[in-house]
């Protein structure tokens, strides 16, 4: 008979991830001649938070979803900080660590009794400073208030002498508009979707991408176990195609350039990237944060970090 699954997608329909997921659903349905249907509920319509994924994924509704591990800072800190902002700066570096990352993630989600059907690639997305006034160096950044998205970013920038804080996503626009904060660390590719260009007209690339940890395609273990063998195989094949389609790092440079062009057309001034010395300072601070945070999160996190450092061919 026909299998019908719900796919929870918390991202806005306009995001590239959402397009990949829609294609995946269509692909699977075609490949099984309509016997495996996946209804994608996007934009957070199921009202399930990413941070709670390890809790709701064991229930059975939804049957399948994707999750970005850094969101699990509360429930699984050992999986949330596999990378920090500043850990890697290029796709080449990242690809060295990717197999270790995927292995750690599969083990970690399985330990939480959640199946891992596969992965969806996260592009290399540059982390840029979007500011109300020109901020072209770490020195200038130290004189203003910065909004970041995660706690490890707070620690890294604090170590650099920057007043960094987390402002909730819902208050970011107003906070920048009125000057509660002066800058936000954000992705050029997603800045326009939250209208950042209207309230922060100066952009400076920091030299580092957001941590490119892949998305985990999670499945409910019981629902997955109940699939007939041929449907299991079809799901695995479709997930593999999803990973391939979403992991083309060669396209990232062009996508970033395109996003910058669009922002420029919308009135944003792009300043030169942070100088090499500033970038080095960020990398150093980030490495220290990475170590601190892993230490706080316990033995498993420390071990995970070492596996990744080893894969990167680095020590600390």
């Amino acid at each position: 008979q026909t299998i019908e699954w719900k796919f929870n997608n918390n991202y806005a329909p306009t995001r590239p991830e959402s397009a990949h997921v829609r294609n995946f659903a269509k692909d699977l349905e075609t490949a099984t001649s309509g016997r495996f249907k996946i209804t994608v509920l996007e934009g957070g319509a199921m009202n399930l938070r990413d941070a709670d994924a390890l809790r709701w994924m064991t229930i059975g509704t939804p049957e399948i979803a994707f999750n970005w591990p850094p969101f699990l800072g509360r429930d699984a800190p050992e999986l949330a900080n596999l990378y920090v902002y500043g850990s890697v700066s290029t796709a080449a570096e990242h690809l060295k660590a990717l197999p270790a990352l995927e292995q750690i993630l599969a083990e970690g989600y399985n330990k939480a009794k959640i199946g891992v059907a596969g992965f969806m690639g996260l592009p290399i997305i540059d982390a840029t400073l979007f500011c109300r006034q020109p901020v072209r160096s770490l020195d200038e950044l130290k004189r203003v208030k910065l909004r970041v998205g995660t706690r490890e970013q707070v620690e890294t920038f604090k170590a650099l002498g920057v007043a960094a804080q987390i402002v909730p996503q819902n208050e970011l626009y107003s906070a920048l508009q009125t000057g509660v904060v002066d800058c936000a660390l954000y992705a050029a590719r997603f800045a326009q979707s939250v209208s950042l260009h209207e309230v922060a007209k100066h952009a400076t690339y920091t030299g580092f991408p957001f941590p490119p940890v892949p998305y985990v395609i999670m499945v409910n273990q019981a629902k997955h176990a109940a699939l007939p063998a041929d449907m299991k195989a079809a799901l695995a094949a479709a997930t593999a195609r999803l990973k391939e389609a979403s992991s083309d790092f060669g396209k990232d440079a062009a996508a970033e350039k395109d996003a910058r062009e669009k922002l420029r057309a919308a009135g944003v001034t792009w300043h030169p990237d942070l100088a090499a010395a500033d970038q080095e300072a960020i990398r150093k601070a980030a490495l220290a944060t990475w170590k601190t945070i892993a230490g706080e999160a316990g033995a498993a996190a420390v071990a995970n970090r070492e596996r990744i450092l080893k894969a990167l061919g680095r020590s600390d």
Binding site: K145, V154, Q165
Partner: protein, 169 residues
């Protein structure tokens, strides 16, 4: 605020219930006061001193949850809750009483399901010794407060069912 409490049939138990409920509500009031102070302090820290608190948002959220949960038992003990009384208001006293008991059982059942699931979450939190993401505040005590508050909600619902229904509104 109107305090149309139930007629005392066993005054000492009733007094104890109200006392406990008021004490918890006073804790909730303290949580609101702390919340206000925290928000103001964090604005001052950021604006005047350029040194934002990193724990204010999460702590504020937890205080908000405490303000909500800890005051809930009082809403049952002192009959403050919103009800739709279109039907009961039109019934004879015995029928009204029966319907009232049914309604209290709905509340007790709701409270019980809630507390059991809240316990599941609290248990998950304790087993992993979970902390908030940014400020690393230990979460278990707050979750346990939620379990306890909803347990009292269910208990008070049963206690209230044994007393006469509130007068027609």
């Amino acid at each position: 605020m109107a305090q149309a409490g139930p007629a005392p049939e066993r005054p000492r138990l009733d007094a104890a219930v109200l006392l406990l409920a008021r004490a918890l509500a006073a804790l909730a009031a303290a949580a609101v006061a702390a919340l206000a102070a925290l928000v103001v302090a964090s604005v001052v820290m950021r604006y005047a001193l350029g040194a934002p608190f990193r724990f204010s948002e999460e702590l504020a959220g937890l205080l908000l949850a405490m303000a909500a949960f800890l005051a809930m038992p009082l809403t049952v003990a002192a009959d403050l809750n919103i009800r739709v009384t279109l039907l009961p208001d039109r019934l004879s006293p015995p029928a009204r009483r029966a319907l009232f008991v049914f309604g209290q059982l709905v509340l007790a059942a709701f409270g019980t399901v809630f507390l059991l699931e809240a316990w599941t979450l609290a248990d998950f939190t304790m087993a992993r010794n979970l902390k908030t993401e940014q400020a690393r505040l230990v979460l278990a005590p707050w979750m346990i407060a939620m379990v306890a508050a909803t347990a009292l909600l269910a208990l008070f619902a049963v206690w209230r069912a044994l007393r006469p229904p509130p007068p027609p509104g």
